[in-house]
Symmetry: C2
Subunit: 447 residues, 2 copies
């Protein structure tokens, strides 16, 4: 039997970050990551292997991240957690005894029960390098590609596949607009659809796929409205569900939404077992209610909490804010916290403020792109609840400014006088910097 102080099941962003955090906080402990895959794809990079990055082999999380920190790696599949004995049984027949365990078993794609979903050339976005190579090969052969689901993954995938080889790409989205579940307000969803359409991707909103057509191999899809669309490959990107079999079989409590229950220290219901990442239950930073947003950036935050708490409870998870960004065509889209729409649905009394300005000054500086910020505040308290940014590529960091303001509970007046660094080649001008101006716009509506 192998023995380790800390065992971590899973080698994705949560597993690696939990291991690295444990190493920093507990330098004397043995730490072992056990994962079943030879290679782990960078999850958020998957859409990019279909275009910009070009191959699954160029989108691998390097094992050096573990080796450099003296963290052990075992390629094997954990088949059972014996939580009373504190032992793991792995597929090869070995056993691993642990003192502390972190479960990071992640998520897997939702596979909706659409008739014909088992035909050849119908794919999901699985975090498996050989599987993704098969999808890529099919996309390379395809003349007509249908993507079911217009969330972040679906829209990024459509943009990249179109770039790759000018295949006809259609995205079919059930809701009135793409990205609506991503926290964007409708005006920004429309803007994203425009950008992906410019590249030749066709977006069909408000449509469900009722059936996948063809003999053995897919040759089309039939929509709810009866329309038939040609397809020689279909990729479904309609979301994921937590991987909880191992935890459930071990007798760990599950939360109401089916993920592994954790407290705010990321401890499960069992002694000495923690969980983090997509498999672990999430609660909203704002409401404290369960809200299972599965993002690698949330997973790593949770892993930084879990990894530090293993032998002594040091940190608490404040709940997920939900901060994403993406790039479609030459425009970046980013969101943090609650959109206007979601905040209203949650029953908050809210006020919004917007401001748009070039992200360079003067406008003749290279790389200039108009960049718009929208902020959502709680009208009763003035506290910032959400933000959206659309424009230049630095929107990916800009949304993190907004995210940090949300996490520290800043008010609309504090943001109106927030100090910023500005530079002609790097940001908007100090007069037109979007954050304080958007806050002032909201203040104007509160009077």
């Amino acid at each position: 039997m192998k023995k380790t102080d800390v065992a971590i099941i899973g080698g994705g962003p949560a597993g690696i970050t939990a291991a690295k955090t444990a190493r920093r906080n507990y330098p004397d402990k043995d730490i072992l990551v056990i994962r079943k895959e030879e290679q782990v794809p960078i999850p958020c990079g998957i859409p990019y292997i279909f275009g910009t990055v070009d191959s699954p082999q160029d989108n691998i999380i390097p094992d050096a991240a573990l080796e450099d920190d003296g963290i052990g790696l075992m390629i094997d599949k954990v088949e059972k957690i014996e939580k009373d004995k504190k032992v793991l049984k792995v597929q090869s027949g070995n056993e691993v005894a642990y003192e502390k365990l972190v479960v990071t078993t992640g998520s897997e794609p939702l596979e909706p029960p659409i008739p014909g979903g088992d035909k050849e050339n119908v794919f999901f976005i699985k975090k498996s390098v050989p599987y993704l190579q098969d999808v890529l090969d099919a996309v390379d052969e395809a003349e007509d590609l249908v993507i079911i689901g217009g969330g972040f993954i679906g829209i990024e995938l459509g943009d990249e596949c179109r770039k790759r080889n000018q295949t006809n790409v259609k995205i079919i989205e059930r809701l009135p607009h793409c990205l609506m579940l991503g926290g964007f307000d409708p005006e920004l969803c429309k803007r994203a659809e425009e950008e992906v359409s410019k590249n030749g991707v066709e977006v069909l909103n408000g449509n469900s796929v009722e059936e996948i057509l063809g003999e053995d191999e897919v040759d089309g899809v039939r929509l709810e409205n009866g329309e038939k669309i040609d397809a020689d490959a279909v990729i479904m990107a309609i979301g994921s569900k937590p991987n909880v079999e191992l935890a459930r079989d071990a007798g760990l409590k599950l939360g109401d939404n089916g993920a592994v229950y954790v407290d705010n220290h990321m401890k499960t219901s069992a002694d000495d077992i923690f969980a983090c990442g997509d498999c672990a239950e999430k609660r909203s930073f704002f409401t404290g209610e369960p809200d299972q947003i599965m993002l690698a950036s949330i997973a790593t935050m949770e892993a930084r909490v879990a990894g530090s708490n293993l032998f002594s409870l040091e940190r608490e998870n404040p709940g997920q804010v939900g901060i994403y960004s993406t790039k479609i065509g030459d425009t970046a889209f980013a969101v943090a916290g609650l959109s206007e729409k979601v905040a209203k649905e949650e029953g908050y009394n809210i006020v919004t403020g917007s401001f748009s300005a070039p992200n360079r000054h003067p406008g003749k500086m290279p790389g200039m792109k108009e960049t718009k910020v929208k902020l959502t505040f709680n009208k009763d308290t003035g506290v910032l609840m959400g933000g959206q940014v659309v424009g230049g590529f630095c929107s990916g960091e800009f949304i993190n400014v907004i995210g940090s303001c949300i996490q520290s509970g800043m008010t609309v007046d504090e943001i109106a006088t927030l100090q910023m660094g500005t530079h002609p080649a790097l940001t908007a001008s100090p007069v037109a910097y979007q954050l304080p101006n958007a806050a002032e716009d909201a203040i104007g509506k509160m009077k």
Copy 2:
């Protein structure tokens, strides 16, 4: 006599922002900006008219910023503030009666008493469009250009002039390194010197200019060490001093460092007169002590305080954090708050943490650039006191994430679990995102 509710002297970033803030907060008031220049250059854009932007005419603050908000503009020079009568006397002979006054008279270049400083082709960085056109014409004629002063302006100017026409450019800096007064630690100052040198600019550190040589026209400079350097144009960029003559003559109190005294509401010693921007006294966010950092981004923050307080004290200035960024060659440099060196000099017990990672993931994504973050914490309290970023162009927004963490008083543990949005095309990976990792590095040193 003309009458206005609000008069603002000066049309730079502070004046415009004070006017626009007043407009938003007091929609019914008449607001009048009085400035002496026909056109106002964007101050931080000035170095770029020598290269990237190419002309002073493409670096003008548009008057539309005022017109669109219904703010009046008078081109005239205020010669006297009669504070007891609440009247301004202007050069054309008119008088303007005000209810509230904001003084934003800005700063002007320091002109050190170097012998020969009055020769032809010796220039300063003045905020005047016709003057800057003369400097540009002289640079175009010059074969050998000497820039005295290796601060932000000097180093940006050197980089741009070299780009323009491959003139021989030498920067002469009195201190051991360029940018040292900008809050960078020596390792980043060296990196900036390397970048500007790659472009062919020669940097001479630890050297003072003792004399400017030539007959009527400059033909060289003599250094402290006796060395003579050829020059057919010299630009001095060694800093600025507040423009306070008008305020002083009106009997407004000055602060210890010579700027116009203001309280934390940006009120001067006189009733109904506020001041903000480079002419107004500044105090450190950290120590509360006078610290005259003159940046347009600080000026606009102060203007957002002043403009809202005119008829009712709404906001307070928490003191300047000092957040800057710049781009040299293809590398961005940014700093917020106190560097390690300055924090030690101020007597703080500090600990630093650093982390470097590619700003894309996987590394094959276009635009990838290694980006390093260094954070400085108060070791006694864990509170963040400063940060530095060097790498990709989004460092300009990245430093604003750090700036907002400083302003909300975040601790090292809060930053270690700060939630971030990450994206392959826009940021570092969620595992390697620099902020929490730099915080973890600092925590490791605190144990």
